[in-house]
């Protein structure tokens, strides 16, 4: 895909340096860099570098890359054979936010939180994909059906016994570049058991579609289950 421009190559080099957690990296990272990767969320560039210094990820020589205005999506395979997806918000050439859909680290922890009762569907006519193409102006309209289809595939790929009717993917980011698109999802999977525990995962799809919108090729990375926050009861 469009990896030939200097701009994209430079971003890829900077992303690779970040993912290796190189101390003193000259990569221009946003001061407010927020990273959600390996079951951890960090804020600020120093904490991001610390995270990847503990859990470095070396990109292969041939990652699958899709770049668009303000975004970069990468799908790669680790030496262990695990598919990993990385999505970055880019502001004026600076990495501003990064998600990784991949393995969850053994030291993963999610901060304690006040539990919030929420209805993800707001109707009995439930859909597995929450999103609206209006919110993703850099996504070609033709791609939207495949964005939804990829959400369903991401949910289907999770082998946990989730309650299909109560699990949902939210389209967090999506953009097109030529005949390809990338879509980042946050998945909330609710178990079919009682009590009905829920957990979250991240997924990244990078796809090519034909002129008629038909799917030509799909790469999909889905994270492991993120730790569930400890509930705060006052």
């Amino acid at each position: 895909m469009n990896t030939n421009t200097d701009h994209v190559q430079r971003l890829l080099v900077e992303l690779a340096a970040l993912l290796r957690g190189l101390p003193g990296s000259a990569a221009p990272l946003a001061n407010t860099l927020r990273v959600q990767a390996m079951g951890h969320e960090t804020f600020g560039r120093t904490d991001a570098l610390d995270l990847f210094a503990r859990h470095p990820l070396a990109l292969s020589d041939t990652p699958h890359v899709l770049a668009g205005p303000g975004a970069l999506a990468v799908i790669d395979v680790t030496p262990e054979g695990r598919t990993v997806g990385i999505y970055a918000d880019v502001v004026e050439g600076v990495l501003a936010r990064v998600w990784m859909a991949g393995p969850v680290a053994v030291d993963a922890v999610t901060e304690a939180a006040v539990p919030v009762a929420s209805d993800d569907f707001l109707t009995q006519q439930r859909t597995v994909c929450a999103g609206d193409p209006q919110d993703h102006p850099r996504l070609a309209a033709l791609a939207w059906p495949q964005v939804r289809a990829s959400a369903a595939e991401a949910l289907h790929s999770v082998r946990d016994p989730a309650a299909a009717s109560s699990s949902q993917a939210v389209v967090a980011r999506a953009f097109s570049s030529g005949d390809a698109f990338a879509a980042l999802y946050t998945l909330r999977l609710q178990s079919a058991s009682t009590p009905r525990h829920a957990h979250r995962r991240w997924a990244l799809a990078v796809c090519r579609i034909g002129a008629d919108g038909a799917l030509l090729h799909r790469l999909l990375a889905v994270s492991g289950p993120w730790p569930v926050p400890v509930s705060v009861f006052f």
């Binding site: 221009p28 001061n31 407010t32 600020g44 006040v114 919030v116 939210v170 909330r188």
Partner: protein, 370 residues
């Protein structure tokens, strides 16, 4: 006499948000980029003033700069009560840095307006990392515990000086990060509040009276803050949560105090309903709004708001206390194509618990502190 006309919300578009910028870019000294009469020459624009003076005071440790950056009679409002005077700001900063010397004050955004010629207003969202290596009045001696709490500091500024400030911090989250139970911390504070002269809590009753009597003012047509304000009113005044949520993005990212983090309209409704369900006879008003352009064709909106009601239902704050509760906070929204794609709301839930437990004058008849 008519009120001064505020400057257009998107004036000086070259004055950039700190969002997505490197620290080197933020700290680069530049020549003056916008008219700032009466401001120190070191500041290139109003965002630079906010970010750089915070950096100089907190990170470079020139705390005495508070004396040239705050008015002598400044009032700093928090949900735990106001403090008055520049020297109180100096002393508070010294105390915080004596306990948490390594505090990094990361500016997430500065959403500002020029409300009258030369009168600036900033809504500065900060997430700060700090380590307890000294002694803290709340959390004890050096423990190495680290905080990473979000604060919104709204400042009214004229001639290089902050003349009034509203400071909202996610203090319950900070308590948890310091390995303390928020309820226990709030209870100790509430017990101390019940001692001594109760008139020191009168500010809270006065604020609630203002909220109950408020007639909502609205931005001029076309101002980006109008949409979010109408949504909040639809939700918290009319209880039409579904109608409100239908106008936000289906992919909305929600970050509320004490770790509440989620995606989607249902979660956004959940946060609003959770607060509202506990407070009967609910009143709500937006006290200030501002908006600024963001990179990638997005727009940032800041709403400073206050709400009050009677804590008459079981909920996140525990069993109903029957007490009058004031909640004041700030919501920062990111708008894309005119719809909210991100809601980051900050209020001090520790101070809310403190009221629930009878502190800050909430134990007094009708919630007063007269």
């Amino acid at each position: 006499m008519t009120a001064p006309t505020p400057a257009p919300w998107n004036q000086h578009p070259h004055v950039r948000s700190p969002a997505g910028r490197t620290i080197a870019d933020l700290l680069l000294l530049r020549s003056r980029q916008q008219p700032l009469d009466g401001f120190d020459a070191v500041y290139s624009d109003f965002v630079d003033y906010i970010v750089r003076c915070t950096h100089r005071i907190w990170e470079e440790k020139d705390i005495g700069l508070c004396r040239t950056h705050y008015a002598d009679d400044v009032v700093m409002h928090t949900l735990a009560g106001p403090s008055r005077g520049c020297e109180a700001v100096v002393q508070g900063t010294l105390g915080a840095l004596a306990a948490y010397a390594d505090r990094q004050v990361v500016a997430e955004d500065v959403i500002w307006s020029e409300d009258a010629p030369g009168l600036f207003y900033s809504s500065h969202r900060i997430t700060s990392r700090s380590t307890l290596e000294g002694s803290d009045a709340l959390y004890g001696a050096a423990s190495g515990a680290a905080q990473m709490a979000t604060t919104v500091a709204d400042c009214l500024v004229r001639d290089n000086r902050i003349v009034e400030e509203w400071l909202y911090r996610d203090n319950a989250r900070a308590a948890l990060q310091m390995q303390h139970a928020p309820r226990a911390v709030a209870l100790a504070q509430a017990e101390a509040d019940c001692l001594g002269d109760s008139t020191r809590h009168a500010w809270r009753q006065q604020w609630m009276d203002r909220v109950r009597g408020a007639v909502q003012a609205w931005p001029e047509a076309g101002h980006p803050a109008e949409g979010p304000m109408r949504l909040l009113h639809a939700a918290w005044v009319d209880d039409l949560y579904g109608q409100a949520a239908a106008a936000v993005s289906a992919s909305i990212e929600v970050r509320w105090p004490t770790g509440r983090t989620g995606w989607g309209r249902g979660y956004w409704i959940g946060c609003l309903v959770q607060l509202r369900a506990q407070l009967h006879d609910f009143h709500f008003t937006v006290e200030h709004w501002a908006a600024r352009p963001l990179p990638n064709d997005e727009v940032a909106v800041a709403l400073r708001w206050a709400a009050c009601g009677v804590h008459a239902s079981l909920g996140a704050w525990g069993a109903a206390s029957g007490r009058h509760i004031l909640v004041a906070g700030s919501s920062h929204y990111v708008l894309r194509q005119g719809r909210i794609v991100r809601d980051q709301t900050v209020f001090d839930e520790l101070a809310v618990l403190r009221q629930v437990l009878g502190g800050l004058g909430a134990n007094l008849p009708a919630g007063g502190g007269q």
